[in-house]
Amino acid sequence: MSAHHHPTHEHDHAHAHLARPTAEDRGATVLAFRDLTLGYDRHPAVHHLHGNVPEGELLAICGPNGAGKSTLLKGVMGAVRPLAGGIDLTRLPRQEVAYLPQAAEVDRTFPIDVYDLVATGLWRRTGLFGGVGRADRARIGEALASVGLAGFEGRPIGTLSGGQMQRALFARLLLQDARLILLDEPFTALDAGTVADLLALVRRWHGEGRTVLAVLHDFELVRRHFPRTLLLARSPVAWGPTEEVLVDDNLNRARRMCEAWDEGAAVCAPIVGERAA
């Protein structure tokens, strides 16, 4: 996994207050699913998922609608409680995890400007009460420039297009400076140019040794840019190198496995030994 990470300092514009992953951290498990079942009303949406995500992984999560992809990310964020099994995130404090939900709950009618929205990404530094200093303002400016929104500082968020809004949310992710970044369909309904720009940021995070999990539907994009993929259809179908996961056999199985919600489903009783892997 750590093959494409050189322990160089080419990305050392990182800030001193950050606990950057050290050489021995690379490849260490940053997120572990232990026979995880997540769901709603006792019905599983993610069923018996087992596996580790090593630090620095760039992982695509694919699968049909209703396969539990978003639920999995919500589970990592603690917004959905496991029905069984668990999620280990113990090595990362809460502030080291950034999450961009599928439909961000941003109230676009709220009277604040792009600058203030993006600045909330500094929450970890400022917390509830801390001020925003000169260095912070410089970082906000850099983040806006990185996503192509230089000059948009004073625009009310209600005037942004869908693509511009997503760029602003990526600028906020940049400022969050997290070690684990969860993206739920980050490129949906965006034009090619915006996708390319935002994808470049994802690649940059990967180069910096951050762990990125992204729910995606565009298999071509996944094949080109994501080394590893988890194919989910409630139950995990395959998890490994992308070229081995995204094959016709697996994709057909995923389509079949994702059945409808069964009101009369029996209680799931694990067969002893079956989940040993």
């Binding site: 917004a79 950034a98 939900p101 961000a104 109230d107 709220f110 009277p111 509830l128």
Partner: protein
Amino acid sequence: MNLYELFIAPFAEFDFMRRALVGVFALAVGAGPVGVLLMLRRMSLTGDAMAHAILPGAALGFLAAGLNLFAMTIGGLVAGFTVALGAGAVARATQMKEDAALAAFYLVSLALGVLLVSLRGSNVDLLHVLFGTVLALDDATLLLIVGISSVSLLVLAVLWRPLVLECVDPGFLRSVSRAGAPTHLVFLMLVVLNLVGGFHALGTLLAVGLMMLPAATARFWARDLNVMVLLASLIAAAAGVAGLLVSYHLGAPSGPAIILVAGAGYAVSVLIGPVGGLLPRLMPGRHLEA
């Protein structure tokens, strides 16, 4: 009648008018920001529900000690906090949304309040609880109102960031901090506090008017949150002055006069307010180049 007689004399000559003026100014300071936040959180009607919820507490205090400031204030606060916390707890522990839980709680509370008031006391007393007596504010009441406004400003200053972020992007706040839920509860308590402050002057039902009407008016004039808050307080204060003058010159009850003036300001703003008002929408200027 000259300008002095129209605008200054009532306050210069009568002590009760000066007290009323101080009272509405103090109320305006707290009600402006609280009202704007309520509106932006789509909780405009929550203020109204809370105002109803306070009634049984004030009535209990009234039954226990008559028209006693301390008893009615404590009663109102306890009833308001109970409804706010109870509805909040139900919303968090069950599938029920907060607005529905609040409706259930405040309706029970209101019925209880009317029952208590009608058990003892004449209709005149009920009117006092419902509509307040801005022209009879004594020192203790003024101190209470000013105290509540000061506390509100301090708490708002401390909680401003999570309060605003919880409106703009609650999902993000949840992802970076656990401050969301406590902040929301503290904010509901601020609403109760300001309504209790307001009910001595304007009554439980009209107190919410000084909170929501200036906020809704300010929305038509400001695009920026901070400007909107400042404007709401100024509008509330202006409505207070104008309402008191109208009430003095026409001999009308002061509470409704204040709220009606605020309502008139709102109506004008709906028509001509530059930010999304009716007239600018119907007759926009020629479109721009880019």
